[in-house]
């Protein structure tokens, strides 16, 4: 199965995109774009014959002709329209993107410590391109047509630069609101986070759909974590049910750094997350936490990769899935321990609960180990809710639906409990509750 004409469609649209750039076509980013466009013309979109995409059929995405957000009309929102989508009850710096384009009027960045940059990519390119030229498209390399598409049309996205020795106390909340009236919109945020030496920063990315028109979010996030830095990255994905979401995260960690990545998925018709981390020095710590709840015909695919290239590092990964109806889950957790990476500790766990007869899961924990003095383990389980526990709860007078929901929330709690921002934890828990009781809630309304 080839999707050649899809490439042609996006290559052809590039001209009108270029016209909209207003003289920006001389920036270094435009060179990157043009190279990516060449790759896009050559690379075919992945099919099931590609091992990395074996279980995810992207044909439904490719049958639509999406229009890149830059050359389509961007809907306007009022402050109070976006309020319900935000996580609240804690202080944060707010960035809002509509269809992947920075909406300055909706954002509230507030006061930032000296030297800290929290801005949209397009404004950085205009004002201070040198600050990011070393990083952008350097951390992440194009390896498939989706990356190429994002890179060719990269225009806006979140940029966070935390200078050496700076701690950003308040987390940055980033709302990506996707919506359109007429076109099938292609939203292409290009995010970049640079955490300097001894710095600390937390970022909450929040993907939401407005309305029920189909759109496609194709995202690349590059994260550079300097020496002794700590980065907490949260992703809460709740796109509308008919839309597609693909994100590639590429992180590079330096000496003694810590990276916590949370990946929580509720929405989307086809969702694919690639989360890659490279250990570029010693004594690094990486934690991946993932939770996905799927129902209907949703397809959620999480591919994680930790590249242990240097000695004395540790990684820990916990992914949990709850699949209902006809949904399908895919998990692929790859860990490579390179020849030099002695004294590596790498742990991985993937647990899935199937709630219906027709839900399916394909899981593949993959360990490739080339060093000998290592401790690595992985575990994967697939099962259904424990009947005896359910019976126990029901015998205490709890109705069946609630008993089930209690057990599922307990199952999910292992992941949610690790969230470091208390109000965020509560709100995610609430989202899970709403998700599990969606039918009852709908009926009441």
């Amino acid at each position: 199965m080839e999707h050649k004409n899809v490439n042609e469609w996006y290559v052809a649209k590039f001209k009108s995109f270029e016209d909209k750039l207003n003289g920006q076509s001389k920036s270094f980013l435009h060179e990157i774009r043009k190279n990516a466009l060449n790759s896009l013309a050559e690379l075919s979109f992945p099919t099931n014959r590609n091992e990395e995409w074996k279980c995810t059929n992207v044909a439904p995405i490719l049958k639509h002709n999406f229009i890149p957000a830059m050359i389509s009309t961007v809907p306007k929102f009022q402050q109070d329209e976006i309020k319900p989508f935000l996580f609240k009850d804690f202080d944060y710096h707010l960035m809002v993107f509509v269809n992947g384009l920075f909406a300055e009027e909706l954002s509230e960045i507030g006061n930032l410590p000296k030297g800290v940059v929290v801005d949209g990519l397009n404004r950085i390119i205009k004002n201070n391109p040198d600050s990011i030229s070393k990083y952008i498209n350097n951390l992440s390399k194009i390896d498939n047509a989706f990356n190429a598409l994002n890179t060719a049309y990269s225009y806006d996205g979140l940029v966070v630069i935390v200078p050496d020795g700076t701690i950003l106390e308040k987390p940055i909340q980033v709302l990506y609101l996707n919506s359109s009236k007429d076109d099938l919109v292609l939203s292409l945020p290009r995010n970049l986070i640079i955490a300097g030496k001894n710095s600390q920063v937390s970022v909450i990315t929040n993907y939401r759909g407005y309305g029920d028109k189909t759109y496609f979010s194709n995202i690349i996030t590059e994260i550079y974590i300097g020496e002794n830095a700590i980065v907490n990255f949260y992703k809460i994905q709740n796109e509308n049910d008919g839309s597609y979401h693909i994100e590639k995260v590429q992180a590079i960690q330096k000496k003694n750094s810590v990276f916590n990545h949370y990946n929580i998925n509720f929405g989307g018709a086809i969702v694919r997350n690639d989360i890659n981390t490279l250990h570029d020095d010693q004594n690094i710590e990486t934690h991946y936490y993932g939770l996905y709840l799927a129902h209907g015909k949703q397809h959620v695919d999480n591919h994680t990769f930790i590249d242990h290239a240097k000695p004395n590092c540790m990684s820990n990964e916990l992914y949990k899935g709850i699949l209902d109806d006809n949904s399908r889950g895919v998990f692929n957790g790859k860990i490579i321990v390179r020849r030099d990476a002695q004294k590596t500790n790498a742990y991985q766990q993937n647990k899935t609960i199937l709630l219906s007869k027709t839900a399916t899961i394909d899981t593949k924990p993959q360990l490739e180990i080339f060093a000998d003095d290592v401790k690595c383990s992985h575990g994967a389980t697939v099962g259904h809710l424990d009947d005896t526990s359910e019976f126990y709860i029901r015998s205490r007078g709890v109705p069946q639906e609630l008993a089930k929901s209690m057990l599922i929330r307990a199952f999910a709690n292992d992941v949610i409990d690790t969230v470091k921002i208390e109000p965020l934890k509560e709100q995610i828990n609430h989202m899970i509750f709403e998700h599990l009781h969606r039918v009852e809630i709908e009926n009441e309304q």
Binding site: T363, V374, C376, S377, V382, G383
Partner: protein, 495 residues
């Protein structure tokens, strides 16, 4: 010619059956130190339809068999060599291989003194009896040699029970209805590149049929097989256990077997009907190449069992220490309700050996169960991969799988990899997978050293402990030999 004459004189004294057995046993693989040029009927290199027809004709096969081979060959021509396994080797030129070689008469050596001393050392370590040593290394043996009479007694006992145990070629002629029914029914000729190649050109192999309700009274083994003439490059084994039957089959041999055939592509098919059980044990110790990784055998095998009947069971146990490249995935298709599949494996890679091995458990029937225990040991520059698939079909209510794959690393240049695929389509099933990788415990070695045990013995003890779960599944004698074999394979890898 002299040898043949000699043989004839003996055969006058013994019954023809005995002779045949002896003949087969003595024509085993050892080819070390060939001096005499033996005339053998070998097909020219290359592969085309004529070669396939020729092979079939040489074996006096009926028309339908020839057709089957040709179909396989035509299909094979359209296939591409698989590149997905995690092994590296120079491309094989399939036109540079001779696909038929008539059973050769090997030169007989007069005494063990003429045998390569290194081989003798290995025999000694394995504790192989002297007579067997002679047999394995191609030394002429007396007609009264023990195992021969054993083999004859075996044959009679089997006949009494109605068990068929013969070569595939013989079965094609004498039991065509069974062959037609079962050959290629588990591994069709379209299955994969090497299975198709095997179907087109397979030289010979074993056929076992256990009638309804019969429990095979002894462990069957290629080692004692009556009609085997040559292990052959493209072996094909078919074992069928009818309702309620049981058989335990041993393949291979712990003694090192030297072989000039670089490529081995065997196919093994197992079928169990209601309440039947097959236990298939393999010890593979083919030439792994020298310390620099030169030479060695490529072992590309397709092994699959189908639990067709209710409550049937197939159990694979393998100890893989030889071959430069091992590429095999003994699998179970659990079709019958309540059927059980098991896979126990120890794979050792030392020097430059590469192994990509594991299993596939396909759960289709209700309440099917499978257990997978895989132990990988890597030393030297060896690379060891576990690749497994657990698939739970839509209708496999209450299916259960437990997988454990542990790897042990013994040097800083070796690799251990796991590629487990888990695909579940039924919510009532339960699947568990666990994998660990670690270095051999320095504290454990220290503890044993401290008790006056040498490092080498300590390593052996630890490794044996690590593999215990698998060894306990092997038939007794095999288990003892396998332990020793492991020790030899890992000699000098620590320290």
């Amino acid at each position: 010619m002299n040898e043949i004459k000699e043989k004839k004189t003996i055969s006058e004294e013994t019954s023809s059956d005995d002779m045949k057995v002896l003949d087969d046993l003595t024509s085993s693989e050892y080819k070390w130190g060939f001096v005499t040029d033996i005339e053998s009927e070998t097909a020219a290199k290359g592969l085309n339809e004529n070669v396939v027809r020729m092979i079939s004709k040489k074996k006096n096969e009926p028309e339908w068999m020839t057709e089957w081979r040709l179909k396989a060959f035509r299909y094979w021509q359209k296939m591409e060599e698989p590149t997905w396994p995690n092994v590296h080797y120079p491309q094989i030129n399939f036109q540079d291989i001779s696909y038929y070689s008539a059973p050769k008469q090997k030169p007989k050596l007069n005494s063990l003194d003429e045998v390569d001393p290194e081989l003798l050392k290995t025999f000694e370590k394995l504790g192989i009896p002297l007579e067997e040593q002679k047999l394995l290394s191609g030394v002429a043996v007396d007609a009264v040699f023990d195992s021969v009479s054993v083999a004859t007694t075996f044959r009679e006992t089997l006949k009494e029970k109605g068990i068929i145990f013969c070569s595939i070629s013989e079965a094609v002629k004498e039991h065509p209805e069974l062959i037609k029914k079962y050959l290629g029914s588990v591994v069709p000729y379209t299955d994969n590149f090497y299975a198709s190649l095997n179907a087109a050109v397979f030289s010979d192999g074993s056929f076992v049929w256990i009638p309804k309700g019969v429990r095979c009274p002894m462990e069957l083994s290629t080692y004692f097989r009556i009609n085997s003439q040559d292990t052959g490059q493209f072996e094909r084994t078919l074992i069928v256990a009818e309702e309620g039957a049981y058989v335990s089959y041993l393949e291979g041999c712990t003694a090192p077997i030297r072989d000039n055939n670089q490529l081995h592509a065997a196919v093994v098919e197992l079928v169990t009907l209601d309440n039947a059980e097959i236990k298939y044990s393999t010890v593979q110790n083919w030439y792994p190449g020298d310390k620099e990784g030169k030479g060695g055998i490529y072992n590309f095998v397709t092994k699959r069992g189908a639990c067709r009947g209710k409550n049937s069971k197939i159990s694979w146990t393998q100890v893989e220490t030889g071959s430069a490249i091992t590429w095999k995935y003994p699998s179970c298709i659990l079709q019958g309700d309540n059927s059980v599949g098991e896979f126990y494996s120890v794979a050792v890679t030392n020097n430059y050996q590469q192994a990509d091995t594991g299993t596939k458990m396909i759960h289709l029937g209700k309440n099917t169960k499978s257990t997978v225990v895989s132990k990988g040991i890597s030393a030297g520059h060896g690379n060891n991969s576990y690749r497994g698939l657990i698939k739970i079909g839509k209708n496999a209510e209450g299916a259960r799988n437990y997988t454990q794959c542990d790897s042990m690393l013994m040097s800083d240049k070796c690799g251990a990899h796991t590629f487990p695929y888990i695909e579940v389509e039924n919510e009532s099933s339960k699947v568990e997978h666990e994998a660990t990788t670690s270095k051999i415990g320095e504290d454990q070695i220290f503890y044993l050293n401290q008790r006056g045990i040498s490092t080498e013995d300590a390593v052996n003890m630890i490794v044996n402990g690590f593999c215990k779960e698998v060894f306990k599944e092997l038939p007794m004698e095999f288990a003892v030999e396998a332990q020793k074999l492991l020790a030899i394979s890992l000699e000098g890898s620590v320290g």
